[in-house]
C-alpha cells in the first residue's frame, strides 16, 4: 500500500486521477459520513443526557423549589433553599470539613500511592501477589470499607484502641467516632487507605513507560538517585499526575460512602462534608430542595476547580 509520511503522520495515498496522487485526510470526510458518524454517536449522547444531564438540570430546578416530601408544593421560592443551607452552622462546618477531607486525603493518598508505585517498580520475589494485595482495597465498595473501619475504630471494642493501648501510646481508650476531635480524621484515615491503590496503579503504569536508557545515560553523566527522580521520573509521569489528581479531587469531594457509614456525619454534625450533609437532608429531613441547593454548591465548587486546574496545568505544559 502506498503512503506518505508528512509532519509525523502517515497518510494513506489513493489514486484518484491518473496523474494526481491524492492525500487522504480528515477534510475529505464526506458530508454523508459525518452525518453517519453523528447518527452513530446519538444513542450514547442520548443515554448520557438521560442519565446525567437531565437529572443535573432537574436538580438545579429543585434547588429553587419548595421540594419537601411532607408537603410537596413544588412552588418556586427563589434562593430560600440556599439561604436555609448557608444559615445552618453545620453547613459552614461541612464546607470547612470538605476542604480538610479533600486536601489531607488527596495529598497523603498521592504521596503514599506514589511511594508504593516506586517500590513496586523494582522486581522482587512475590511481587505479583503483593501487588494484588495492595490493589485489594480499590476493589471493595466504599460503604463496606466504612463499616470495617467503623468497627476497627470502635471506642470500646475496636482493634485500633487495643493496639494503641498495648504499644503504650494511649493510656485510656479513645472514642474515635464519638469525639468531634477525632471523628473526621478517623474517616480520613480510612479514606487514605482506600485511595492509595488508585495512585499506585496509575503511577506504576506510568513509571513502567519511562525508558530505562534515560536512567543509564543519567548515571553515566553522574546524576544521583534524587536528581534522576526529579529530572527524569517526575517530568515523564507529570501528565499522569495531573490527570489523576484532578479526577481524584472530584471523586473525593463526591465520596460520602466512608463518612456516611462510619460516623453518619456525627457527633453533632461535626464530621459532615457537603455530600454527606446532602444525603442527610434527603434521608433524615426529606428536604430535597435544600439538598439540591447543596448539590448545586458542590457542582459550582467542582466546575470552578476544574477550570482553574486545567488552565494552570496547560500553561505549565501538562497534557
Amino acid at each position: 500500500m502506498g503512503g506518505v509520511l508528512e509532519k509525523g503522520v502517515w497518510y494513506k495515498v489513493i489514486q484518484v486521477g491518473a496523474n494526481s496522487p491524492h492525500i487522504w485526510g480528515e477534510n475529505d470526510l464526506m458530508v454523508k459520513d459525518r452525518k453517519f458518524i453523528l447518527f452513530m454517536i446519538l444513542p450514547t449522547f442520548l443515554f448520557i443526557s438521560v442519565v446525567t444531564f437531565v437529572p443535573a438540570i432537574r436538580s438545579i430546578f429543585m434547588a429553587f423549589q419548595d421540594y419537601n416530601m411532607y408537603y410537596l408544593t413544588k412552588k418556586f421560592i427563589g434562593f430560600k433553599n440556599f439561604a436555609d443551607a448557608f444559615c445552618d452552622p453545620i453547613f459552614v462546618q461541612a464546607l470547612k470539613n470538605t476542604a480538610k477531607w479533600v486536601l489531607v486525603s488527596l495529598s497523603l493518598q498521592f504521596v503514599l500511592g506514589f511511594s508504593l508505585a516506586l517500590l513496586l517498580r523494582k522486581p522482587f520475589k512475590g511481587r505479583g501477589i503483593y501487588t494484588a494485595l495492595v490493589f485489594y482495597p480499590w476493589a471493595v465498595s466504599g460503604f463496606v470499607i466504612g463499616l470495617q473501619w467503623r468497627w476497627m475504630f470502635h471506642g470500646s471494642a475496636g482493634v485500633i484502641n487495643d493496639l494503641l493501648l498495648k504499644i503504650g501510646i494511649i493510656k485510656e481508650k479513645i472514642a474515635f467516632l464519638s469525639d468531634p476531635h477525632y471523628a473526621l480524621y478517623s474517616a480520613i484515615v480510612a479514606n487514605i487507605w482506600y485511595g492509595i491503590p488508585f495512585f499506585a496503579i496509575m503511577l506504576l503504569a506510568a513509571l513502567q513507560s519511562v525508558p530505562q536508557e534515560l536512567y543509564e545515560a543519567a548515571r553515566i553523566d553522574g546524576a544521583n538517585a534524587f536528581k534522576q527522580f526529579v529530572r527524569i521520573t517526575i517530568p515523564y509521569v507529570k501528565p499522569v499526575i495531573i490527570n489523576t489528581t484532578l479526577i481524584r479531587f472530584i471523586w473525593i469531594v463526591n465520596f460520602p460512602d466512608i463518612i456516611f457509614s462510619m460516623t453518619n456525619g456525627g457527633p453533632a454534625g461535626s464530621s459532615h462534608i457537603l455530600s454527606t450533609l446532602l444525603i442527610s437532608k434527603v434521608y433524615n429531613e426529606y428536604n430535597y430542595g435544600v439538598a439540591s441547593a447543596i448539590g448545586v454548591v458542590i457542582m459550582l465548587i467542582l466546575v470552578t476547580y476544574a477550570y482553574f486546574y486545567l488552565r494552570f496545568s496547560k500553561t505549565e505544559g501538562g497534557f
Binding site: H154, S156, K173, S178, T263, N264, A268, Y283, N284, E285
Partner: protein, 431 residues
C-alpha cells in the same frame, strides 16, 4: 372508536363487536395483578410475605399479587417516588412516620367505608384503632403491629452483682452506675446517641413530666397545651438522661446506633438496654441461651408513670389503584388474626388484635413485659409523637445534634430546651 363502525360497513361493525366482547371477557375473567410494595424489607420477611401472598392467591383465583421489595436503606424514598409518579401500586406498607406524607400527597385511599363492613375491626386492639384513625378520624391504613420500647436486661450479670430489675428511672440510674467500671470496660447502660436517639431520650425525659397529653393530635404537648420540652420536669428528665451517659455509659455511645447498642448488650458490656420487640429474636439468637436475658416493662418516672410511643406500620391502598376491592381483600387477609400472628412472630412486632394474645408465644416469656405495658393504662401511657407534622424530621435531626452538643459541652442545656419548645410552638402555631 365508536364512529368508525357506524361509518363502516356491516363487516367492520361485526368485527368491532367481536373485539369489544373479547376485551370485556378478558378484563372480567382474566387474571388481575395486584402490585404490593413492602418497605421494612429483610430476606426472611419477604419470604414469609410471599408465602402468605401465595395462600391469598390460592383463596382468590384470578388474582395474582406481585411483591416489590426495595432494599431497606432506600425503600421509603423509592415508595414515595413510585406513588408520586403514579406508578402501578395497589397495596403498600404504610409506616407511621410516612402516613402524613402519603395522606398529604393524596396517595392513600380512605378505607372508612370498607372498614364499616368488616368484622375484624372489633377484634383490633384499641391502640390499633387509635393509630388507624389518627388523621382526620378517617381510616387510612390497618396497622399490623407495634414497636413499643421495653427494658432488656442481662439476667446473668444482674444476678452476679446482686442487682434487682429496676422499676423506676432513678433505680435504673443507680443500678447502672453500680455496674459501671470503665477500667474493666464494664458499663451499666447502652446509651443511644446516634440516629433516632430521640425515641430513646424522650422516654426518660418525658417520664419526669407529670402531664403529657396522650391525644394523637397533641404529640409533645402537655395538658396545659404547651410543648413539654422546657417544663421543669423535662429539664430534670434531660439531666437524668445526660447522667445516664456520663456515669453509666461508654464514651463512644454518644454516636451509637442500633447495631452498637445490641452489640454492647450481647457482649455483656452494657447489661441494660432499651429496645423494641423486634430486637428479641436477634438478642436471643446471638446470646444462644434465652436464660441469659430478660425483658421488663419500662421503668417509670417520679410520677409513677412513663409515656411510650407506639411506633407502628400497616397496610394501605393506593388512592389511584384500579383494583380497590381486590386490594381491600388483600389488606383484610393480611390483617386477619391468624395471618397477623404468624407475621408478627417473624417480624418481632406486637400483634394488632386481641385474639393474638391468646397465643402462648405472646402470653409468656419476654413478650409478657409488653403485655403488661399494654394492659396497665395508669402506669404506661401511650402517646404519639407528632411524626405527621412537617417539621418532625428536622426536629429529630436538631434534637440529636443538640443533645450531642450538650454532652460535648458545646451547647447550654437550658438554651437547647428553649429552642425545642419554640420549635414546637411554631409548628403548632401557639403564641
Amino acid at each position: 372508536m365508536i364512529i368508525i363502525p357506524i361509518l363502516g360497513g356491516e363487516k367492520t361493525r361485526r368485527l368491532f363487536y367481536v373485539i369489544l366482547v373479547v376485551f370485556f371477557v378478558a378484563t372480567t375473567f382474566g387474571a388481575i395483578t395486584l402490585t404490593m410494595v413492602e418497605t421494612i424489607t429483610s430476606p426472611a420477611r419477604t419470604e414469609l410475605l410471599r408465602q402468605l401472598l401465595d395462600e391469598f392467591e390460592a383463596k382468590h383465583p384470578g388474582v395474582k399479587v406481585e411483591l416489590i421489595s426495595p432494599p431497606y436503606e432506600s425503600s421509603d424514598q423509592k415508595l414515595i417516588m413510585m406513588l408520586n409518579t403514579k406508578q402501578k401500586v395497589d397495596v403498600f406498607e404504610v409506616r407511621d412516620n410516612f402516613l402524613a406524607i402519603h395522606v398529604n400527597n393524596k396517595n392513600l385511599l380512605d378505607l372508612t367505608e370498607y372498614v364499616k363492613k368488616w368484622d375484624g375491626w372489633n377484634d383490633l386492639l384499641d391502640l390499633t384503632k387509635t393509630a388507624a384513625t389518627k388523621i382526620q378520624g378517617k381510616t387510612f391504613y390497618i396497622p399490623y403491629g407495634f414497636f413499643i420500647k421495653a427494658l432488656f436486661y442481662r439476667k446473668d450479670i444482674l444476678e452476679k452483682n446482686n442487682i434487682p430489675v429496676p422499676r423506676t428511672m432513678q433505680e435504673l440510674y443507680e443500678y447502672a452506675k453500680k455496674l459501671t467500671v470503665p477500667a474493666q470496660g464494664k458499663y451499666g447502660f447502652a446509651f443511644r446517641g446516634g440516629p433516632s436517639e430521640h425515641s430513646f431520650s424522650e422516654i426518660v425525659i418525658m417520664s419526669y413530666v407529670p402531664n403529657i397529653d396522650p391525644r394523637p393530635d397533641r404529640g409533645y404537648l402537655t395538658t396545659d397545651g404547651v410543648p413539654y420540652h422546657d417544663t421543669p420536669g423535662a429539664i430534670e428528665g434531660l439531666k437524668m438522661w445526660i447522667k445516664l451517659y456520663n456515669d453509666c455509659s461508654p464514651k463512644d455511645s454518644l454516636n451509637w446506633g442500633w447495631a452498637e447498642q445490641v452489640n454492647g448488650f450481647v457482649s455483656g458490656m452494657t447489661p441494660f438496654l432499651i429496645q423494641d420487640p423486634d430486637t428479641v429474636p436477634i438478642v436471643e439468637r446471638r446470646l444462644g441461651d434465652p436464660n441469659l436475658y430478660g425483658v421488663a416493662p419500662m421503668p417509670v418516672g417520679p410520677h409513677g408513670k412513663v409515656y411510650l410511643d407506639y411506633g407502628n406500620a400497616g397496610w394501605g391502598i393506593a388512592s389511584y389503584s384500579k383494583y380497590k376491592d381486590e386490594a381491600w381483600e388483600l389488606v383484610k387477609f393480611l390483617s386477619s388474626p391468624e395471618v397477623n400472628a404468624r407475621f408478627s412472630q417473624l417480624n418481632g412486632t406486637i400483634p394488632n388484635c386481641k385474639s393474638a394474645f391468646a397465643d402462648p408465644y405472646y402470653s409468656t416469656g419476654p413478650y409478657l413485659a409488653w403485655y403488661e405495658e399494654l394492659t396497665n393504662a395508669d402506669k404506661y401511657v401511650f402517646y404519639e409523637r407528632p411524626v405527621h407534622m412537617a417539621g418532625f424530621p428536622a426536629y429529630a435531626e436538631k434534637h440529636k445534634n443538640d443533645i450531642q452538643n450538650i454532652i460535648l459541652g458545646k451547647k447550654d442545656l437550658n438554651q437547647a430546651v428553649k429552642e425545642w419548645a419554640e420549635f414546637w410552638k411554631k409548628e403548632y402555631g401557639i403564641k
